[in-house]
Structures are given as C-alpha cells and as structure tokens.
Amino acid sequence: MSLSPDAARTSPLARIDRPGQTFLLLLLATAVAVPVLNLAVPPSSPFHVPSWLVPLFGKYLCYALLAVAVDLVWGFCGILSLGHGAFFALGGYAMGMYLMRQIGDRGVYGNAELPDFMVFLNWTELPWFWHGFDSFAFALVMVVLVPGLLALVFGWFAFRSRVTGVYLSIITQAMTFALMLLFYRNDTGFGGNNGLTDFKEILGFGIQADSTRAGLFVASALALGIGYVICRLVVTSRAGRVMMAIRDAESRARFLGYRVEHYKLFAFTLSAVLAGIAGALYVPQVGIINPREFSPASSIEIIIWVAVGGRGTLVGAVLGALLINYGKSYFTTVEPESWLFILGGLFIAVTLFFPRGILGSLAGWWGGWRAGRRAARAPAPAPAPSAVEEPAE
C-alpha cells in the first residue's frame, strides 16, 4: 500500500488521510455523545445510554488503542509480535497497584498499609516495588516506563541478533508466557491468581460513579485519538517509509545504509508504551487486572483484530478491535460456547478471502472504482501497462 504520493506532505494535519479524519471525527462525536447521553439525558428517554454500557465502550476503546499499537509494529515494520498482551498487562498492573494503594484501610482486613492479599499471605510490610504507587503521578510514569523498558531491553537483544519472522514471534510468545507464570505465583507480590481488584476510587473519585466512568471513557477516547495521530505521523514520516522498507525488503534497507535494528527497536518500544497506556485505562474501567491478560491466547487475539480490520492501515486495527470485541460481548451472552469457533472461523475466512482485511479490501475496491471512473472520463487509451514481463522473483 502506497500511503500517499510525494506531494502534499507539508503540515502534520495533511498527513491524516480521509479514513483517518473520518475516524477522528467519529471518535470525537462518541467522546462527547456517550457521556452526555449517559449523564444529562434522563433514563426514561430512549436516547439514554445506560451506565453499564459506558465502561464497556471504554474497554473497547482501550482494545482499539492496543490494536493500533500492534498494527504499528506488525503492519508497518513487519514484526509479528505475539506478546503484546504483556505490555498491555504491565501497564494495567501499574495502574492496578495505584488503585490498590487508594483502597487504604477500606479493605476487608482494614489494613491501611497493606492490600488485602498481602494480609492474607501474612506479609508484614509492603514489598519494595510497591513503594511509590500511592502517588498517581508515579504510577503514570511506571505505566509508560515498565512496558517501554521491557520492550527496549527485549527488542535490543532480539533485533541486534537479527531474530526475525517466526522465531521472533515465538520468543515474544515465550516472553508473555513467562510473565504469566511469574504473575500467577502468590510470592511474586501481585495478588497471584486473583490479581488486583476491589478498587474503590481513582484520584479521590468513586470508581463506580457514573461521572468517573464518563471521565475514564473520555480519557480512553483521547488516548486512542492521540495514539492514532502519533502512529499516523510516524508511519507517514520518512522513518515510517524506512520501517515499511524493512518490512518488505530488510536486507535491501540495510544495504542502503539504514540501521534496521534501530528502526525496529523504536517501533517496538513506542508500540509497547501505547499498549501499556491502553492497559492502564482498561483496568479502572473493568475493575480488575489478573495474570490471564498475559496468556498467549490474549496476545494472539489482538493479531486477529488487526488482521480482520486490515493490517497496515491503523484505522482498520481500530475497526477490527471494535467489531470483534462487540461480537465477543454479544455472542458470549447469547451463545457462549460458540464464540471461539466464530472467532477462529472469522480469522480463517479473512485470511483466505480478504487477506488485506476489511479496510484494506474496501480501499482496494474504492481505488478500483475511482480508477474505473477516471478511465471512463478520459477515453484516451492509457499506455499499455508494462507489466508484460514480470520478473521471475
């Protein structure tokens, strides 16, 4: 996919294409409409958005940001990460630790210093890595820093050793699996199997309050919008074109003098940070974070969202995440047994029949239709496509 012709790459705004503008407008409309329809419209009105839907929509937006992050590395840099759930979960745990500290003495055991699960395990003092998490600012820094540093270190070793393709996918999968096992242990100090939950408030606002949920929803929409714009600006920059060059012909890019591992490391780390932010916004809205977020299956599911929506389009990743998660919410209530079959079937069908995903296929049809119209308007015989002699590549 050629992103844009060489002209008109002047202002940053001009680098957001038509689907991107449409998406941002819709996102803005949603960010305004959902809180208003929930808070200002009385429940008797047919336009009222019930309170239980707000965090559900907010959760979808977090997933969409996660999908955008994965699309940045997979769709544009060719790194098929099967471990992005780990970065999401780490961001989520960082936020969860802050929320746990906010509970204070309102826990079951009434211990002002220790979260319930530590009291239950007969711990007497807070582990060193829990210090600082009573501060929201500190937690926010950790939300960015922990996934970012893990990606930086992991990526540095992987890309420097020129691990690519399936091997890279496997080690990312191993990374998230190892973290899952680690977080399942009670001794690790993150609540083990149960994870972190029973949150009371965030920044002093009740976590169950409608206004708090509306605020978190708006924050998620904002994060998704900003995350999208950052990724879009990156992929339309020359660095983005280098990333795509690496995706398509890695050794050629290296031969032109580009340090391939630096570009991969940049994309991977930026992506991990975005995933961490998505996780941090997810946790207060769903009210729990536990080691299941590290499971390899969760990470693979993200790949399916991106593939279904359209790899390498960013907006497609959002679309895929929203559609599939809405489908998941719908089918798991209507026919819980069927969901995994539907998901698997969808993935197979998209791979076979729409390899470019929903948005990629739509863009293809749209482009073909416009080209057809242009040809109809200008009946002069176009120069014969010189693709007669295709190379035997």
Binding site: D6, S237, R238, R241, A249, G257, R259, Y263, E389
Partner: protein, 256 residues
C-alpha cells in the same frame, strides 16, 4: 604480458586501478594477477565466459572478498583491499546486483527518496523533509531513468526492465563516482535492452561505469571499450570489433 601493456600507462590519472590481484578459493585461482584501470567518466564493458572471474573481480573491488595479493587503488588514494563494504560504498562506489530488489510497496519516488544520500538514523528520518534541492535531484534522476511518468506507481507493479532502471536510479541518486552493474539487461526485452543502453550512455561521463554483461548485442550498442576476462586475468582489451578479431578471444569465448 597483456597486464604489463595495460599498466604501462600512468596509473595516477585513473579512477580505479586494479593492480596484480590474485584470489584463490581452495587452490582454484579465481583471479590470477588481474590488472586493469578505469578512467574518470569512462564506461567499460567486461565480458568473459563463465568462471572467468567477473563476479570475483566485482567482489574484490566492492569489499566482499579480500584478495590474496595485489592492490586496488581508488582515486589513487584509497586501497580498497583494506576497506569493508560500507566504507567502500561511502566513498562513492555503487554496485547493482543481478536481481533487482526495490521496495515493492513504495512508490517509485519514495524508493528514490529512501536511497537519497542523507542521515540514516531514526530521529533524523522521523522529522526529515525533502527540501527543494532534494526534490529536484529526485526529479532529475526520474528523468534520467525515464520513470518520470511512473513516479507515484508502487515499484512492485513495474515491469522487470523498469525495476532495473529504478535500481540504477537508486544507485545514481547517491552520486557514486564509480558504478558496477552486474548483467543489467538480463531478462529484458529487446526494446528495454536498447533503452538501457541509451540510459547508460547518457549517464557515462558524469559517472564511471563498469558493466559486466553476457549480451553481445547490448555490449555492441554501448559502443565502449571492452575488457575480456579469461581464467582470472585480462585476455584482451579494446573496442568490441577489435577484441572480436582477436583469435584468442574467438577461441575461448566468442567462437563457442
């Protein structure tokens, strides 16, 4: 004997001076006391049967293979036998491999943009903008390689010949002083071959070019000095008409 005849000339005026280079692989002498020179702005065709040492010669000059003995002087200043590939590329020696590799999803313009000389780090490229001079430079190269009308087309949809030209353009835009082209017309149609000859004649003069080729029609169309390699050293040198008369050349190569 022939090598002696070649080196008699004052070598300091030459751009590239290959001096008595020998390379052995497991006792097989791929290059055997090879000596020749290339003048600034000259285009040279190198021909020779399979195994004559054409590829090994390019490997030695571009730093891929280290010779057992001999020197390769560039601009009378650099001994290429002591430098690696990246360093050799950076002092202005470009090489086009046989199989064209362009970035298929990028437009022709973007392919040239990525090849354009400039800083290669993540931060500089994140904020890089093409200035007017760079745009003109890309347009100029697009003109030279005859792909001006295809500038927005994804390179993957180009014909084989066009891909070869684009790759030549990607080398040209880095302004190499010396360009090595390995069988640039392999797999091209006759029309494309003729156009490629025009293209190369057009850029010779500003760049020195060494073309390694099998296609005799193409070499005839280039109308340049020809060096015939055989068993790792120079067998004959001169115009194509001249070397075709040479009984030894007929014996080892053209006569077959």
């Amino acid at each position: 004997m022939i090598a002696a005849a070649v080196t008699r000339r004052e070598p300091s005026s030459a751009l590239l001076y290959v001096d008595d280079v020998t390379v052995s692989f497991d006792g097989f002498r791929a290059l055997n006391g090879l000596s020749f020179y290339v003048d600034p702005g000259e285009m040279r065709a190198v021909i020779g049967p399979n195994g004559a040492g054409k590829t090994t010669m390019m490997d030695v000059i571009t730093g891929k293979t280290r010779p057992d003995s001999g020197r390769v002087l560039f601009r009378d200043r650099y001994d290429l036998t002591a430098m690696d590939e990246a360093a050799i590329a950076s002092i202005g020696i470009g090489r086009k491999f046989q199989k064209p590799t362009v970035f298929p999803q990028h437009s022709v313009f973007e392919n040239l943009e990525l090849a354009l000389a400039g800083r290669r780090g993540v931060w500089p490229t994140l904020f890089a903008r093409l200035d007017g001079r760079q745009r003109r430079r890309i347009d100029e190269v697009l003109d030279t390689i005859g792909l001006g009308a295809e500038r927005t087309r994804p390179a993957g949809t180009l014909s084989h010949g066009q891909k070869q030209w684009l790759e030549i353009g990607m080398l040209l835009i880095q302004d190499p002083e010396l360009l090595f082209l390995d069988e640039p017309v392999a797999g091209m149609t006759d029309a494309e071959t003729a156009q490629t000859a025009d293209l190369l004649r057009g850029i010779a003069g500003r760049h020195s070019i060494v073309v390694v080729e099998h296609d005799m029609e193409f070499v005839r169309a280039l109308d340049v000095r020809v060096t015939v390699l055989h068993e790792g050293s120079v067998l004959a040198e001169g115009s194509l008409a001249h070397v075709q008369q040479d009984p030894r050349v007929i014996e080892v190569y053209l006569g077959r």
